[in-house]
């Protein structure tokens, strides 16, 4: 059922945005941002369920919980960065979009570092 | 602002209406005796305000008192003069072009305002007023029965004689013939009224305002207001077929011809002329021609031996004798 709703919103918004685009491009962008956010809100209430079940599965294994939470954070950041850069690309600002992506990657790297160090330590432990 | 004036001034109210407020206050605060006999109000720009009454002139002072000497009197300003011009012409100077050209404007009520000032001749040759600086408000009074003294000599039974009234200026000859016209028109005991025609070139006898006579000149009277005497008389004969034609101050040659036309049409003529007496009239060419072919049957001479408007002499030209032995007031 959810997909029909998202689809409806998306198509209507696209049509609206196109009609406004030739007169007033700035409003077209606004419409697309608003649709993006509205669609997110549609799935926003399903997402936590997915994350919780994901947590339960992982917690059964011995893997340290820290990795999981950083993993989820990374997914969150990735989503937002993707959201922002797409909007900029919509507006035709490719450069800003890439800057946002760069920013996102760096932050993810930063978050991912402890996992990588832990990974290398375990590998070294195995090798030695 | 403008107060309603009470009883006495009422009869020359139109003149007061034509004066600015300060003038009005000054004149109304003048003593009643002077006002009762008021003849003229003299307004001259830049000079003191004067009033003629009982044969003497008085200077008006700003506080309303009257004085014999000009130094305390109110000096007329140019703003006053402009305002008077607007008021007497009812804010429409264009409507009084002909009257202005002839030097006077007639107010409602038949009061004539003489004007003088600087004149210029326009390119079309007509002389026009450039600056109007002095006004002379003449207060004519309708003295009823003023003509009682001359009626016995002018009317015998139902027959009216052709009459010429000779009088020096300002002797009340207009008041006299106005009252004569009224009596002849309305009729009086022993005389039934007749149709009277008045040619009022300077609209002074009947004092018409927009054609309506402001003075009572009788019910059977028709007035040709502001029309030159010569053409007026002929027009009246043809249009109104009057029994008597009354006119004022004849003096031009063409008047004589018009009078002769009237006589041939069998219409009685009563008119006036400027002169001091019969001898003075005979010296004037126009009057001499009228007197020689005895156009007139009666001649009345006015004077002021017993006060203005006394009948000095009365001549009957048919029998060539004097009808009067001593002047009548």
């Amino acid at each position: 059922m959810g997909i029909v709703q998202i689809l409806g919103i998306g198509i209507i918004a696209a049509i609206l945005s196109v009609t406004i685009k030739q007169e007033k491009p700035e409003f077209a962008v606004m419409v697309s941002i608003a649709t993006g956010i509205t669609i997110f809100f549609v799935i926003a209430d399903k997402l936590p369920y997915v994350i919780d079940t994901f947590n339960n599965i992982i917690s059964k294994t011995q893997v340290n919980m820290v990795f999981i939470s950083t993993l989820i954070k990374i997914i969150g950041i990735a989503y937002i960065t993707e959201f922002g850069s797409q909007i900029c690309r919509d507006m035709g600002e490719g450069s800003i979009a890439s800057k946002i992506e760069l920013g996102g990657k760096v932050i993810i790297m930063v978050l991912g570092l402890p996992i990588i160090t832990a990974l290398t330590e375990t590998i070294l432990g195995i090798l030695s | 602002m403008k107060q309603k004036t009470d009883g006495l001034e009422y009869y020359f109210q139109p003149v007061l209406d034509a004066l600015p407020d300060n003038f009005r206050k000054m004149i109304m605060s003048v003593s009643k005796e002077i006002l009762r006999e008021l003849e003229e109000i003299r307004v001259r720009q830049g000079r003191p305000l004067m009033v003629y009454s009982r044969g003497r002139d008085y200077f008006l002072c700003p506080d309303g008192s009257v004085s014999r000497y000009p130094k305390k009197a109110y000096v007329v300003t140019d703003q006053d003069a402009r305002c008077i011009l607007e008021l007497i012409s009812d804010y429409s100077i264009y409507a009084f072009e002909e009257e202005l050209a002839s030097g006077y404007i007639t107010l409602q009520g038949g009061y004539r305002v003489g004007i003088s000032g600087k004149m210029t001749s326009g390119k079309d040759g007509i002389i026009r007023f450039q600056h109007i600086t002095s006004f002379n408000f003449r207060i004519a009074r309708e003295i009823r029965n003023a003509s009682n003294k001359i009626i016995p000599y002018v009317v015998k039974g139902n027959r009216i004689f052709h009459t010429l009234i000779l009088s020096p200026p300002q002797m009340g000859k207009t008041t006299l013939i106005r009252d004569l016209a009224r009596q002849l028109s309305n009729g009086f005991p022993g005389f039934s009224g007749v149709k009277v025609g008045i040619v009022d070139e300077r609209s002074e006898i009947a004092g018409c305002y927009q054609g309506i006579p402001q003075n009572d000149v009788g019910v059977r009277t028709d007035i040709l207001d502001g029309c030159p005497k010569a053409t007026g008389i002929i027009m009246l004969i043809r249009s109104m077929s009057p029994d008597v034609i009354i006119t004022d101050e004849i003096g031009k040659p063409m008047d004589v011809m018009a009078i002769e036309d009237a006589l041939n049409a069998g219409i009685t003529i009563i008119t006036t002329a400027h002169s001091h007496g019969l001898e003075d009239a005979q010296r004037r060419p126009i009057l001499r021609s009228l007197l020689e072919n005895n156009v007139f049957q009666r001649i009345m001479v006015l004077g002021n031996s017993l006060g203005t408007g006394t009948l000095e002499k009365a001549y009957d030209l048919i029998e060539g004798k004097e009808l009067l032995d001593r002047p009548i007031r």
Binding site: Q5, I9, I12, A13, L16, S17, T19, I20, E23, K24, E26, F27, A28, M30, V31, I33, A34, T35, I37, T38, F40, F41, V42, A44, L47, P48, I51, S69, I72, K73, I75, G76, I77, Y79, I80 | -
Partner: protein, 65 residues
């Protein structure tokens, strides 16, 4: 989910566009500019409000503190 925000923004956009045309036709260019700016500001307010909600919910979901 309240999708009227999209329609609101679209409506304001269209109105501003028409308004601009009318003002341009009447020769009041500066007025047209001003109305466009006003329109953008109003819509921006709405969108910023939306984005604020978005970030809050994401923060709560992904525990991005």
């Amino acid at each position: 989910m309240n999708i009227d925000i999209i329609f609101k923004i679209a409506a304001v956009g269209i109105l501003i566009a028409v308004l601009n045309q009318v003002l341009l036709r009447a020769g009041r260019e500066e007025m047209a500019m001003l109305t466009t700016l006003a329109g953008v500001v109003v819509v921006l307010l709405m969108v910023v409000n939306l984005i604020n909600n978005l970030f809050n919910s994401i923060k709560s979901i992904f525990r991005l503190y």
